[in-house]
C-alpha cells in the first residue's frame, strides 16, 4: 500500500516538476520572444546566410554586393535616426563625415599600411572631434538653418579632402583585418561579415540608447527645448552626444565603404556629394524617423532596391533612368501620404488585418462569452 502511495506521490511530484520546468521554459521563451534584440540577431543571421549562399553560387554576387553596400548606408542611417528622429537636428553634412572616414582609411591602408585597428581608432577619434565641433554649431543655429550650415561644413570637408588627394583607391591585397590577411577573392566576404557584426552591435547600442534616459532626454529636447531645459536637461550635453554618435557612425560607414568597395569612383562620384546626404535623409524619413527597423527599411528602398532587384528586370535594365524616376516618385508619395513613414504603414496594415480577423471570428463563431 505504502509503496503504491510512494509511487503515486513521486509521479505527482515529477509531473509537477515537469510542468514547472515547461512553464519556466515557456517564460524564458516569452522573454526572448519579446526581447527586441532577438530581431536584430535574426536579421544578422539571415545576412550571414545570404553571404554563405552567395559563396555557394546560389545568389548572384551583384545581389550580395548591393546588400553589403546598402548595409553600410544603414549604419549611417542608424546615427541619423538618433539625430533626426530623437533630437530633431537636421544635418546635411553626412556625406562629408563619410568622406572623412573613407579618407582616413585610405591613408591608413594605402599610404602608411597600419591595418584596420589603427584605422578604427583614428576614425573614431577624428569623428568625435568633428561631431563636437558641429554639435557646438547646433547650439547656436537651429532648424533648416542648421541643415544649410552643416551642408556648408560638408562642402568645406569635401574641398579639403579632394585638395589632399584627388581620388582614393585601396587595392584588395593591402587589406588585413585584425592581423588576418585574406586571399583577394575572399576579402569582400570577410568585410561583409565585419559589416554585419558592426551593424548588429550598432543596432543594439542604438536600441539601448533610445530606450535609456538619454533617449528620453533627447525626445524631450525635440518636442520643446525650453521645457526640456526647465526639467534640467542640458541641451549642450545631448546635442553634442547626438552629433558625436551620428558622426562616429557616418565615419565608420566611410571606413567600411573603403574596405568593401575599395574605390571612391565606383559609386559614380556620388559618395561625398550633397545627393548622398539627401538620400540618407530621405531614407530615414521614408522608413520612419523614430524606428530602427524603419530606418533600415528606408535605406534598403533608397539605396538597395534598384541594384538588388530592378536591375535584373530587362525593362529597367534598358532604361536605367526609370529607376531614378521610380525612386523619386516613391519618396514624394510616401512623404505626402504617409508622414510617419513606412513603419506607420506597416503597423497600420497589421492593425487592420487584426481587426479584420477579429471581425471574421465574430461572424463565424459569435461573440465570446
Amino acid at each position: 500500500m505504502t509503496a503504491k502511495n510512494d509511487y503515486l506521490v513521486k509521479k505527482m511530484l515529477a509531473e509537477q516538476q515537469k510542468e514547472q520546468s515547461a512553464k519556466r521554459a515557456l517564460q524564458i521563451f516569452d522573454k526572448f520572444k519579446h526581447h527586441p534584440v532577438l530581431g536584430y540577431v535574426i536579421f544578422a543571421v539571415v545576412l550571414v546566410l545570404l553571404q554563405v549562399l552567395a559563396k555557394e553560387g546560389m545568389i548572384s554576387t551583384s545581389f550580395i554586393g548591393a546588400v553589403g553596400s546598402t548595409l553600410i548606408y544603414c549604419i549611417v542611417g542608424l546615427g541619423f535616426c538618433l539625430l533626426l528622429g530623437y533630437s530633431a537636428l537636421a544635418s546635411l553634412g553626412t556625406a562629408g563625415f563619410i568622406g572623412i572616414g573613407a579618407y582616413i582609411t585610405y591613408f591608413c591602408f594605402a599610404e602608411y599600411n597600419v591595418g584596420v585597428g589603427v584605422a578604427f581608432l583614428l576614425v573614431i577619434v577624428v569623428a568625435v572631434a568633428v561631431g563636437v565641433f558641429v554639435g557646438f554649431i547646433s547650439l547656436r543655429i537651429e532648424g533648416i538653418y542648421l541643415a544649410i550650415v552643416t551642408l556648408g561644413v560638408a562642402q568645406i570637408i569635401k574641398e579639403v579632402l579632394s585638395a589632399l588627394v584627388d581620388t582614393i583607391k585601396i587595392s584588395a591585397k593591402d587589406i588585413t583585418i585584425f592581423g588576418m590577411g585574406f586571399e583577394i577573392r575572399e576579402v569582400k566576404q570577410a568585410v561583409f561579415f565585419l559589416i554585419v557584426a558592426i551593424m548588429l552591435l550598432l543596432m543594439w547600442v542604438t536600441h539601448n540608447l533610445i530606450n535609456s534616459p538619454t533617449g528620453r532626454a533627447m525626445l524631450a529636447m525635440k518636442n520643446s527645448t525650453s521645457a526640456a531645459q526647465a526639467f534640467g536637461i542640458s541641451l549642450m550635453k545631448y546635442r553634442l552626444l547626438a552629433f558625436v554618435f551620428s558622426t562616429i557612425l557616418a565615419a565608420l560607414a566611410g571606413l567600411l565603404y573603403m574596405l568593401y568597395i575599395r574605390s571612391e569612383q565606383n559609386s559614380a562620384g556620388t559618395l561625398f556629394t550633397l545627393s548622398t546626404s539627401l538620400n540618407i535623409l530621405g531614407a530615414v524619413i521614408i522608413g520612419g524617423t523614430k524606428s530602427i527597423w524603419g530606418t533600415i527599411g528606408g535605406t534598403f528602398i533608397i539605396f538597395g532596391i534598384d541594384k538588388m532587384f530592378l536591375q535584373d528586370i530587362k525593362f529597367f535594365n534598358d532604361n536605367p533612368t526609370l529607376i531614378t524616376i521610380v525612386c523619386g516618385l516613391l519618396v514624394i508619395l510616401v512623404v505626402m501620404f504617409f508622414p510617419g513613414g513606412l513603419v506607420q504603414l506597416v503597423k497600420g496594415g497589421i492593425f487592420k488585418l487584426k481587426t479584420l480577423f477579429v471581425k471574421w471570428r465574430v461572424r463565424r463563431y459569435g461573440i465570446e462569452e
Binding site: 556648408g152 524616376i325 525612386c327
Partner: protein, 303 residues
C-alpha cells in the same frame, strides 16, 4: 603691382555671380512663401536651360527666342510643382517638404533624358548670346560682351523684382504671405495663387540663371547648377532669410570673397588648392558670428 590680373579674375567671376544672385532670390522667394529650402531649384532651372539648348542645337532657332521659351517652360514647371504637390501637402512638416524637393531631383534627373535628345550628348556646347570671342579690350583687360549681357539682364531683373515687391499689389501680397500665411489668407489674399506664382517666378529666374551660367561653362548634366545652388543656400544663411534683399547681398558677398581669395592666390600660389575651402570657411565663421544672418532680425520664440 599689375592691376589688370585682379580685374581679369573679377570679370571671370561675374557670370557665375549673376547666376548665383538670381538663384538666391529664387530660393528666398520659395523659402518665404512655402517655408522650405528648395533643393530642386537647380534641376528646375536646368530644365529651362535644356529647352533652350535643345531648340538651338536640334532645330537651329536663335538663342534669344528660345531663351524666352525656356524661361516660360521653367515658369510652368515651377507652378505645376506647387499646384500638384505642395498645395496638397499642407500637413507635411518642414523637413518633409525638403525631402519632397529631393524626390523631385531624382524625378527630373530621370525624366530629362527621355524628353531631351541633347541630354544624351557627352557635353553640350551652348553658344552664349554673343560669341565669347567678341571682347571689349581696355588696356590689358578684355571683357566679353556676353558678360555685359548677363550682368545687364541680372540687374534689370533684380531691380524689376524688388520694385514690384515694394510697390505692386503682388509684392504686398507676397510680403504678407511670407510674414504669416494664415493671417494673409484671412485678409483676403489668395495665398494659393501667390505661392504658385512665387514657385513659377522662382523657376523662371532659375532658368535665366542657368542660361547665363552655361553660356560660360560646359553643360554636362542636369545637375550642372548644384554648386550655384549650394552657394545660394549659404548666401541665404549669410544674409538671413528674414528679408528679401539679405540673401541677394549675401550671394554678392560670397562671390566677391571668391574674387578676393583669388587675388590673394596670385601672390600665394600654394593657397589656390584650398581656395574654395577658405571661402566657405570664412562664410561659416560669419554665420557663426551672426546666426540670424547679416541683415537678420532676432526671432523671439514664444513658449
Amino acid at each position: 603691382m599689375d592691376f589688370s590680373a585682379y580685374l581679369t579674375i573679377l570679370i571671370g567671376v561675374l557670370p557665375p555671380m549673376c547666376a548665383g544672385i538670381l538663384a538666391t532670390f529664387a530660393i528666398t522667394l520659395i523659402f518665404k512663401t512655402s517655408y522650405t529650402t528648395n533643393f530642386a531649384q537647380g534641376v528646375i532651372s536646368a530644365i529651362g536651360a535644356y529647352v533652350a539648348v535643345e531648340l538651338t542645337l536640334e532645330k537651329g532657332l536663335p538663342l534669344w527666342g528660345v531663351a524666352i521659351i525656356g524661361v516660360v517652360v521653367a515658369f510652368v514647371v515651377g507652378m505645376l510643382i506647387d499646384v500638384c504637390i505642395f498645395r496638397r501637402g499642407k500637413n507635411v512638416n518642414a523637413i518633409g517638404k525638403q525631402i519632397i524637393t529631393m524626390g523631385l531631383i531624382s524625378l527630373f534627373v530621370g525624366v530629362i533624358p527621355f524628353i531631351f535628345k541633347v541630354a544624351n550628348y557627352e557635353s553640350v556646347p551652348l553658344q552664349p548670346f554673343i560669341p565669347i570671342t567678341k571682347q571689349l579690350v581696355i588696356g590689358k583687360v578684355s571683357i566679353p560682351y556676353n558678360t555685359f549681357v548677363g550682368l545687364g539682364l541680372t540687374i534689370v531683373l533684380m531691380v524689376l523684382v524688388f520694385v514690384l515687391l515694394q510697390k505692386s499689389k503682388w509684392g504686398l501680397s507676397v510680403r504678407a504671405t511670407a510674414s504669416n500665411e494664415i493671417v494673409a489668407g484671412m485678409m483676403g489674399i489668395n495665398t494659393k495663387v501667390i505661392t504658385a506664382i512665387s514657385w513659377a517666378i522662382a523657376g523662371a529666374l532659375g532658368a535665366v540663371a542657368a542660361i547665363i551660367y552655361i553660356g560660360n561653362a560646359t553643360f554636362s548634366s542636369a545637375l550642372v547648377m548644384t554648386t550655384t545652388q549650394i552657394n545660394a543656400f549659404l548666401a541665404g544663411i549669410l544674409g538671413g532669410f528674414a528679408t528679401f534683399y539679405g540673401p541677394v547681398v549675401g550671394a554678392a558677398i560670397i562671390y566677391l570673397l571668391d574674387v578676393i581669395i583669388g587675388c590673394i592666390c596670385i601672390h600665394v600660389p600654394e593657397l589656390s588648392m584650398w581656395k574654395s575651402a577658405v571661402v566657405y570657411g570664412i562664410v561659416m565663421l560669419l554665420v557663426l558670428w551672426k546666426p540670424q544672418g547679416l541683415f537678420g532680425k532676432k526671432m523671439v520664440k514664444k513658449v
